[in-house]
Symmetry: C3
Subunit: 159 residues, 3 copies
């Protein structure tokens, strides 16, 4: 009996284009029956954060400042800052025009395929975020040791 | 009989310094007889794109805008934008001065060592690029599932 | 007898937040008895460089310019340049406030746990750096082939 292939994706970046890459890999691997887990840490937490306009998240001034900086996934920047003209909106337009799944569709697909979106406890501590600041269907907040346990036999990709 | 070690490098970034790192790893691994594949996706496609001055690539306005932003590998920026003074030209100068292979030499070496430079189909769809927009010796344009198949038993590095 | 899990972390980035992520993974893995090695290359060398104010490093004009750009780890920038307000100082403040180890504490912990911090020879050539420009407790400067040898059976993460 063949062991199921495993993929652990560490989503460190909160950049729109890198999020697209991460979810493309995740959904592609889940679709061919790999066991995929996505771990959101630092800026990547922005991707699974509740949308702007909800109750303010975090506690204290520093967290508030940080929260201001992390506006949720409707405001993800692209990673190439010097490509001034290329906004996530423009990129989403190109994706729709060319019949490629958008980021929202990719995230939805990942959830449908049963890919757990897992949050990093330490990053949440640093940023003063609470479990309720995350999307309601985020199943777990874990520490580094648990991540390592999950990833023992997996391909690990840091994005 | 020992299995040949495999290395899959996902070249997501189009930054000059990261391209140097990717090709250094690729040629180094190929030289010690690892089976190496490089997958170019998103901005990384810029590294294997035909040079500027050829016929305009892509179709439509969005692709044209994008094409303007991606000038081909003679115009790769460095990843550290705040290091204003450090251009790819300066870095190439330092590489020549210190007898290190330049990016062009590294790319050539990778091809000589038989490392396949493979393009990501979905990214090309998003960007409206066609096979003929890439360097003539790019052997393959593949989808995510094929990438995963290739990378099953490989070390995978995302750059 | 179970083989010890191995983790190779390539620290390419010199960004403060990515350094925190790298050392968090490294110390976490070492703490649960993985065999961890960290390889510092390009901008990552900044993390293990002697502090500013020591004798100038490198040789020649280009190296001097580069040296100016790489001020040592007390001056690491954060990776998200558009988050203008978030300095390493602010982030360190948030880490202390929330009882998370700071970068200096993480580096110290990695050393205590016996994680070798290894420098990449080729990057040092490019940058005109010498062994004595690095922290005194950096045990090794190695080439790519040696890195690959070390990483043969390891999880490899590029940060």
């Amino acid at each position: 009996m063949e062991t199921k292939k495993k993929l652990s994706i560490i989503c460190f970046s909160g950049d729109f284009d890198k999020a697209v890459a991460a979810f493309t890999l995740a959904t592609g691997a889940a679709a061919v029956n790999w066991e995929v887990r996505m771990f959101f840490t630092f800026w990547g937490l922005n991707i699974i954060k509740k949308r702007k306009g909800r109750a303010p998240v975090g506690k204290g001034f520093l967290a508030a400042a940080f929260n201001f900086l992390m506006g949720g996934r409707s405001n993800l920047p692209v990673s190439r800052l010097n490509f001034g003209g290329l906004s996530p909106g423009l990129m989403t337009g190109m994706m729709k025009k060319n019949n490629v799944a958008t980021l929202e569709e990719l995230i939805e697909a990942a959830k449908q395929l049963g890919v757990p979106l897992i949050a990093c406890e330490m990053s949440m501590h640093i940023l003063g975020m609470r479990k309720e600041d995350l999307d309601d269907d985020i199943p777990e907040v874990i520490d580094v040791a648990t991540f390592l346990k999950y990833s023992e036999d997996a391909q690990v990709i840091f994005i």
